[in-house]
């Protein structure tokens, strides 16, 4: 009876750990599973094996795994596409921040994975630990519960006025505060541009880089633009609990800046 219970528990634990996404939970699950296996060996009248398995499986093997995967694994990045910073290019992804992220992932030996998300989703994703970093056209307004690296590119908010009508902005961006009670909010910048082009909006609040993207696509040639004085910066955002990652990314960026490569990269992409 005890043997069946232990066997079911061990099977449940191993199913739990092998279906995990994070390697850490898998390793811990397998460690606990081997402790349960040791109990099963005891029930199966093999005390020698049980003693050895308990010491090896739960103590040494788990710890060796933990030491080995201390700083390896995936680096998941949530991003908002924005043309010169981070954008899909054909099959792959390109941009200033992408190049920095690729070098950083190579530097700390992690495999990079990027997911495109709406702007308003980002704080929740970073805080819950589902993603490690937020990047791309992610303009911060000093949100609580996130920490930021040094700004890579500075920008300002800008009002793009096409005609009389309501004001629009992207949900979650700092510009969302400026639209007033009658304004409309959109989940993605592409929706905002589409609404402005269709005439649903008379005015949009966005930032200089986004305006540059629209100008390059020649979307609103007759628009009247007003640049607001306050300065904002595009930066990477991290979870405050992940102090180790913040330190290594900050150190990496400082190293890039010291060697002058950061300025060269900015010049290359933002000519």
């Amino acid at each position: 009876m005890v043997a069946i219970l232990l066997a079911v528990l061990a099977l449940f634990l191993v199913l739990f750990s092998l279906t995990q996404k994070r390697l850490l939970w898998g390793v811990i699950g397998v460690g606990v599973h081997s402790l349960v296996l040791a109990g099963l060996y005891l029930v199966l009248a093999a005390p020698d094996v049980a003693l050895t398995e308990a010491a090896v499986g739960f103590g040494l093997v788990t710890f060796v795994y933990l030491l080995a995967l201390r700083r390896t694994g995936k680096l998941v990045v949530a991003a908002v596409p924005l043309y010169p910073l981070l954008y899909p290019a054909g099959e792959g992804i390109a941009g200033l921040e992408w190049e920095i992220l690729e070098r950083f992932a190579r530097w700390c030996h992690r495999d990079l994975e990027l997911i495109w998300v709406p702007r308003a989703e980002i704080p929740r994703l970073v805080q819950s630990g589902e993603v490690h970093l937020a990047a791309g056209g992610f303009l911060s307004r000093g949100e609580n519960g996130l920490v930021f690296t040094r700004p890579l590119v500075l920008t300002r908010l800008v009002r793009v006025r096409v005609a009389e009508g309501p004001v629009g902005a992207v949900l979650g961006e700092p510009a969302a505060h400026l639209v007033g009670p009658k304004g409309k909010l959109f989940p993605e910048a592409a929706d905002l541009a589409r609404a402005l082009a269709r005439g649903e909006l008379g005015e949009a609040v966005t930032d200089l880089l986004r305006l540059r993207e629209w100008t390059m696509q020649n979307l609103f040639p007759e628009a009247e633009t007003t640049v607001l004085p306050e300065e904002y910066g595009f930066a990477f955002a991290l979870n405050p609990a992940d102090e180790e990652l913040r330190q290594s990314l900050e150190g990496f960026l400082a190293e890039l800046e010291r060697q002058g490569e950061l300025r060269e990269l900015v010049r290359k992409y933002l000519r």
Partner: protein, 113 residues
């Protein structure tokens, strides 16, 4: 009954471990699958040594017939050797990560890094 549940669990563990080794692309996940599969192998031999109502194969430890000592002796060393070879494999993975910057088996095979 104990023996049968042990045998069933051992077969399930071996299958799950092999499945993980083939399907996952990360080398450390593959090693974890190998870990589970080897646990299945050890459990298989231990479960085979068990009969209903036996006592551990130590003289004077309870009534009844003793369990088969030979499979238990075989796996006793296997557990420790498994730890040693696992440490060696993880050292190789660390070295590979150091020089090729990835743990993805497909990327390593394609030689794209």
């Amino acid at each position: 009954m104990e023996s049968l549940s042990g045998l069933g669990l051992s077969v399930a563990l071996a299958l799950l471990g092999i499945w993980t080794m083939v399907v996952r692309r990360n080398l450390v996940w593959k090693l974890l699958g190998l870990n589970v599969a080897s646990g299945g192998g050890i459990l298989f031999l231990v479960a085979l040594s068990h009969r209903p109502g036996v006592r551990p194969p130590i003289v004077g430890l309870g009534p009844g017939p003793a369990a088969d000592a030979l499979p238990q002796a075989l796996v006793l060393t296997a557990v420790v050797i498994h730890f040693a070879t696992l440490a060696l494999a993880l050292a190789l993975v660390i070295l590979l990560t150091e020089y090729r910057h990835t743990q993805d088996a497909r990327k390593l095979e394609e030689g794209s890094v």
